[in-house]
Symmetry: C2
């Protein structure tokens, strides 16, 4: 069986590390306690397996977990989910490294051009390439093209846009590429060498697709994009269809510097989530009551012209906590009970019915409350 | 002028906070020292402005920066770049909150259904909704549909897939939705109430688009997706085209738990970056020589069947450091010099030419070295 080997740092003590590794392997695959897995096939072929556990020189332990490759669906997005999806919300876990089996490496494929392709596109061998950025954001296409010409005449191999330069009315991508390519052409007539231009592409997938196509048609020999801004799966798709080399910019590489109230409470609403799942306090994620309160408030409070998003507290919730949660969140919430229902085994339907009835009963006791 | 107000925590002392706030405002917009901005229009209309600075109860200071809305291009991806792109790599910055002007709120739009729409889709008013997850990953469509029927008979309002359930040969989305919707229909005949089913969608944008379309056509009344896995801009596009409510899952919400060597050195290569920009040691980002060494090594070392990606050290580099960088990285690198070239003002072409010549000279001194 092909496996993905993931190496984590678990910041826990020696007495807890084996158990913690086991819960991590379950969290990232079945999201159920081992006792709730009904089929031995799933235990054998789906659940992550804990491998070597060694002290980490920095903190806690280094733990290898082996995931059957099928859990990743050989998909660029699903791989992220398996490697770090829920665990990214748990403060004692860091993903340090990953080793992929051939099938997954082949499915993702890596660079379509790589070092050799970039060298060919820039016409440079046997020495490091040189590269500069067109700056600043807010310049017109003509201003950027003038700089581009300057750099091309000076013999730079690759000129890229600053990653903050977007496709705007004041400096549309199309005008920018036309003007910069023309400036490079003029310089090439003089110097005999042609500088490679990589305009920045940024936006939702459809916009990025259009930008890449236009850039390529107009003579850009490469593009620049920020994978963590676009999302790694969207970046993967960009690369698989671009037809020219893709330079990656590290912007947003330290994304957790987005405060959780902002990220889960505000940005997901702004980006169109109709309902947002998040861990309720007291479950298996370190979300306190104060954070949950703020998350629900940010999702529901009036915000000029933008609909409210439905808070969906979840994460280790149980039927026993329904009353508390209804009081805490009020009516405009969706209570999500996960693994604990499955602990009922054959009593699943009855336990579920109890959950449903408790919500109705709790809501009837305090009609119309808004929670929080 | 409409502005985006961003609230940051800067973990610095009182003596440095004003200067640090100014460099942040420049970093997130023009990426140039103020002295290198050639046009007053750009200083007036593009550069972020530092607003109120107040002590933060937790650490350092809370600093408001106001960005002209034009810097965001009214685009879901570009907004992230402006708010936290480069700053996310700087350890003393955290983005705490953001306030948007009407034009940007309108452009992004927020939830298409929101609380009311989810309530309508589920047929629930005046009490919290109930929701459960179909588990575990690795189950067949029939096994999940049996669970779905159980939950529907028990009166659950919303049944969602676990966020780890992908579109796989063993459990294709289409078969899953068909079977679960059929199970819900049978339960509805018995109970008179119809449970809402939200299958999980995951993948690169084109795959997600197909999955959402098929799910909707086959009777799923909503979908589940993990915005931080798909990328926020791709998630935004999903919501704008889905036609049914979208539930968001918080997976990967703490993404910086991805170690930087893995994220920038390995994952970007795996996801198809032909060249990867990253801050070289000694610039304005806290990347040490050891980390830079590891990044370049991960991008270039043989990795069965996957092309090497070209390391592009950047970030506050100068012409003076060319020799050092060529020795450090060797030939297979692209040296990216940014803002410091612009400090030459009208001497830009000459300074650039010097950069080009120094790279050629340094490479000629030690031909064929591989660096590291």
């Amino acid at each position: 069986m092909e496996v993905v080997r993931a190496l984590y740092r678990l910041s826990v003590g020696e007495d807890r590390v084996a158990e913690r590794a086991e819960t991590l392997a379950l969290e990232q695959t079945v999201e159920l306690p081992r006792s709730c897995i009904r089929y031995s096939r799933i235990e054998r072929e789906v659940v992550g397996r804990v491998g070597a556990i060694e002290p980490d020189p920095r903190d806690g332990f280094r733990v290898e977990i082996r995931y059957p490759v099928e859990t990743t669906a050989l998909d660029p997005a699903q791989l992220l989910t398996v490697l770090l999806g829920n665990a990214s919300l748990q403060e004692d876990v860091a993903l340090l490294d990953v080793e992929l089996p051939p099938s997954l490496r082949e499915a993702l494929g890596g660079p379509r051009f790589g070092i050799d392709g970039v060298r060919r596109a820039a016409g440079v061998e046997g020495r490091p390439l040189t590269c500069v950025a067109l700056k600043p954001m807010g310049s017109t296409a003509e201003e950027l093209a003038a700089l581009c010409g300057t750099f091309a005449r000076a013999g730079i191999d690759v000129v890229k846009d600053d990653h903050g330069i977007a496709d705007t009315p004041a400096c549309p991508l199309e005008a920018r590429v036309r003007a910069c390519v023309a400036a490079i052409d003029r310089a090439a007539d003089a110097t005999g060498r042609r500088t490679l231009y990589a305009p920045n592409v940024v936006g939702p997938p459809a916009a990025v697709r259009r930008q890449v196509e236009r850039a390529r048609e107009l003579g850009a020999g490469a593009v620049l994009a920020a994978p963590l801004v676009l999302g790694l799966p969207a970046f993967w798709e960009l690369g698989s269809t671009a037809g020219i080399p893709v330079l990656a910019h590290p912007a947003l590489g330290g994304a957790s510097r987005l405060a959780l109230p902002l990220l889960l409470g505000t940005l997901l609403r702004l980006y169109g989530a109709d309902a947002v799942v998040f861990p309720h306090a007291g479950g298996r994620f370190p979300f306190g009551h104060e954070l949950c309160h703020e998350l629900a408030d940010r999702m529901r409070r009036p915000w000029q012209g933008i609909r409210a998003a439905l808070p969906v507290p979840a994460g280790g919730m149980s039927v026993e906590r329904v009353g508390e949660m209804v009081s805490f969140y009020g009516d405009d919430a969706m209570l999500l009970v996960g693994g604990t229902l499955y602990e009922a085994g054959d009593g699943l339907e009855a336990r579920t019915r109890l959950f449903v009835e408790r919500v109705r009963a709790a809501a009837a006791r305090e009609p119309g409350r808004t929670g929080l």
